[in-house]
Amino acid sequence: MKVFKSTTLLAMGLSAIMLFTGCSSTSERPSENNSKADETKPKVVNLYTDRHYDSDDKLYSAFTEETGIKINVVKGKSDELIERLKTEGADTEADLLITADVGRLHRAKVSSLLQPVDSQVLKTNIPENLRDKENYWFGLTKRARVIVYAKDRVKPSELSTYEDLANPKWKGKILVRGADSVYNQSLLASFIETMGEENAKKWASGIVANMARAPKGGDRDQAKAIAAGEGDIAIMNTYYFGHMLNSSDPEEKKAAEKLAIFFPDQNGTGTHINVSGAGVVKSAKNKENTVKLLEFLASEKAQKSFAEANYEYPVLKSVDSSDLLKSWGSFKEQPISLSKLGELNEKAVKILNEVGWK
């Protein structure tokens, strides 16, 4: 009986392996005739997004009201959504991928997950440096990664460039989150582009040497740590600061009011910006509707909502930033092509590991 059982086990195992390999070879077969019934298709856009703001949901409902096109959403982390798109291949139901970082859009593009879109509206509304050269992806909102400092301990005249933060005079003063933050990776990638790999690495190790504490928490936690006096300067994204100033917790507001924003590199290359943006999925089954949605998101109405509800900078020039953003003043932006941030991401991650940026 025992012999019988182990043979059963073996047979089951083998059949499972056969089943599995059989399955995967089937899935690799290119699938055809996916959409035969175009006429009966409901009006939808299927969206994979890494933006989780309630204000975005409101925008989608507004779009549905305007156009009658329903939006179906899967919210997740961009890296995992990209992995899911890869696995689903040509059969995916997703039409549009939205991420909160340009590096991920670039990765989706080079993984052949996106397709180019030829839209006059998008070309006019979105500045050239904020969209892919070949129109595979489009930036929808801008985020600036800036210096935030303690008003009572740092004079703005002492601040100048990102590079200066690596100067030993800031030893034990700098707060910044971990190396796994995509915003830090993109920041470093931009320096690899502007100052070369060697100097970028030197900068990163200078920052590590100047850190007030081991990196931890999110961007807001860095700001709070300045307020607590653990350090004097934080590197963080503007919209988190905006959220703090408008927090439902009066203490958080108070803490944020002790701090101010400084846009670095204004006499040099400019402040680092990143975009959250979108690209149409290569095998989108609802391309026409999807482009409509993209154009809607680049329209004045949507851009205004991005600026006001989430303190992001609109990409559409004619739209004013929110009052809060205006109060911080305008600034000169890093002029580099954002695709570079994606291309250099891996190099940036490796440098961060090598210099011991935890």
Binding site: F4, K5, S6, T8, L9, M12, A16, F20, G22, C23, S24, T26, S27, R29, S31, N34, K36, N46, H52, Y53, D54, D57, N72, V73, V74, K75, G76, K77, D79, E80, E83, R84, T87, E88, G89, D91, E93, R177, D180, R213, A214, K216, G217, G218, D219, D221, K224, A225, A228, E230, H243, S247, S248, D249, E251, A255, E346, V349, N353, K358
Partner: protein, 546 residues
């Protein structure tokens, strides 16, 4: 001959379900590549040392701390009688309802500059070094894991002590053992087996956790798996690493089995006497109550109280659209997955009893593999399998509907429920298997002499006897799925939200106040489940009554 055929049919079913639930793991393992490329070298040089030492440190200290808490609390509740004992007995389960990542956010928030403690100190002009209150480090992570995971240990140890140790403890007491000697010489050796089972669960939770360590920015094996796969797009390193983690956990289990194998613990007849609780008097009584209240305050009241305050502050900013739909979704699919897990576990545990020790052991380990890998990795394996299934089944779909889309299963909730089953089989398995092991074969054999089949004997005789253990397994699994995050995020179909995904959406955006609202609902629902669990458990011992 007839018997042999039936035995094999049962095993076939059990093996088949085990193989199906392991398909995602096979999908991942089949991608393991051992060549040493530049990424692997980079990883080995810069990330591996920290990842391994931090993970080991976290696991070992968490096991020590949560083990100490769990064992002490269980012993205290089982051995002594004091006012409000019934109340504390179930309240001590409750911290299991707080997902560790939420506890991490809440404690870090409370201890931060804007948190209540530092604010009060400022108001009262007490100067504090911010470092004193820093919880975002390994020590803090151990604290968070211990207060949220100890109930796994508390639960198994307590029920073991209450149901199986009466004879031993009473004998020792008669022999004049003082409490400390009793604890060291009798209780600790007795509870070794359930304790190790609890340790395994806690260890796997800690090893695969990503929420706490990401926020605290601690480099562990799990964070490295995530960062290299999802951050660098480097699948080679992460797959190889998750494979090693899995092997490591299997190895531990094999070692444990070998060690246990040498000493057969036979608890004699099923008529184990319940423990006689000693009434605490005077000072001791108040000390006990004081410590229990203190503990519950730290592990539950403080974090939940803080969340209530935040939820009130942020209530207006939280979108409650579709809330009832979200709760319904969450409950429906958690329940569905839990029922499937329970049925499969019954099938497996039932047939395990007729197997040789070795194949039974292999089978039980195979049911638990899904729990030893990080959730997101299981998720990727599951998508791979479902897309393949859909490819295979597409002709069938088209047979029914010529326009059928190809990705039918993988765009439905089926995929998510399947992944839940893969991942949480281990949680239910422990209670179901120990229940079946406890009754052994005697009832089944007896029923068979009356001429009914083994399966029928199981359904008619054994299941009713084991009802309590099964329901306990059900509720533990249910709570775990309720809190689940990575699978839901990655595998959900369009427009599908759960409470946990809502928590993530706010927390990921560093809006912890807003996240408190859905988090509190998760905790509330889990508490309802715990109350149910305790009420069932307090209707003592299924076996004895029959």
């Amino acid at each position: 001959m007839n018997i042999q055929r039936k035995v094999s049919m049962r095993s076939v079913l059990a093996f088949l379900s085990i193989i199906i639930i392991n398909l995602p793991i096979i999908a991942i393992v089949s991608r393991v590549n051992f060549s040493s490329n530049s990424n692997w070298k980079h990883f080995k040089q810069y990330l591996l040392p920290d990842a391994v030492s931090n993970t080991l440190l976290l696991v070992i200290i968490t096991l020590l701390l949560s083990g100490t808490i769990g064992v002490l609390l269980a012993t205290a509740v089982a051995l002594f009688d004091f006012p409000l004992k019934r109340f504390f007995e179930w309240v001590l389960y409750i911290p299991i309802t707080i997902p560790p990542y939420i506890a991490a956010y809440v404690y870090a928030g409370m201890l931060s500059y804007t948190g209540v403690i530092q604010r009060l100190c400022r108001d009262w002009d007490i100067s504090l070094q911010p470092q004193w209150l820093d919880i975002m480090n390994i020590r803090g992570a151990v604290f968070i894991y211990s207060i949220t995971l100890y109930p796994y240990i508390y639960g198994v140890v307590k029920s073991f002590l209450e149901n199986h140790s009466g004879n031993f403890i009473d004998t020792a007491r008669v022999l004049g053992y003082k409490p400390i000697k009793l604890f060291l010489k009798v209780i600790l050796p007795l509870i070794r087996i359930p304790l190790i089972g609890g340790f395994m669960l806690v260890m796997m939770e800690v090893v695969s956790d990503y929420g706490v360590i990401k926020y605290f920015n601690i480099q562990t094996v799990s964070s490295t798996i995530f960062n290299s796969w999802f951050g660098m797009g480097e699948t080679g390193v992460s797959i190889r690493l998750s494979f090693y983690v899995m092997i490591f956990i299997i190895a531990l289990q094999v070692i444990e089995e070998i060690m246990r194998g040498r000493k057969k613990y036979n608890l004699g007849s099923g008529r184990a006497r319940p423990i006689t609780a000693i009434k605490l008097k005077g000072f001791k009584r108040y000390a006990m109550i004081f410590f229990l209240i203190l503990f519950i305050t730290v592990a539950f009241l403080i974090p939940v109280g803080q969340m209530v305050v935040w939820a009130i502050l942020a209530f207006q900013k939280v979108s409650l659209a579709n809330l009832s739909q979200i709760i319904f979704n969450t409950l429906l699919y958690s329940t569905l997955a839990t029922i499937i897990i329970l049925i499969l576990n019954i099938l497996i545990a039932h047939s395990r009893r007729w197997m040789s020790t070795k194949s039974g052991f292999i089978m039980s380990k195979l049911t638990q593999l899904g729990y030893s890998m990080p959730g997101a990795i299981i998720a990727i394996g599951t998508i791979t399998i479902f897309v393949a299934f859909d490819g295979l089944l597409h002709p069938l779909y088209r047979f029914f509907d010529p326009n059928a889309k190809k990705l039918l299963l993988s765009t439905s909730v089926t995929m998510l429920v399947f992944a839940f089953v893969v991942r949480y089989m281990a949680i239910g398995y422990n209670s179901v298997n120990s229940a079946f092991a406890k009754v052994g074969l005697k009832y089944n054999d007896a029923a068979r002499t009356l001429g009914i089949s083994r399966t029928k004997a199981m359904l008619k005789v054994e299941l009713p006897m084991l009802k309590n253990s099964l329901i306990a397994g059900f509720i533990l699994t249910f709570i775990d799925i309720l809190k689940e995050l990575p699978l839901t995020l990655l595998l959900r179909p369009f427009n599908y939200n759960t409470l946990a995904s809502r928590v993530y959406e706010y927390a990921n955006d560093e809006r912890i106040h807003e996240a408190s609202v859905p988090a509190l609902i998760i905790i509330f629902l889990s508490i309802l489940a715990v109350i149910l669990l305790v009420r069932i458990n307090s209707r003592k011992g299924g076996i004895k009554k029959k």
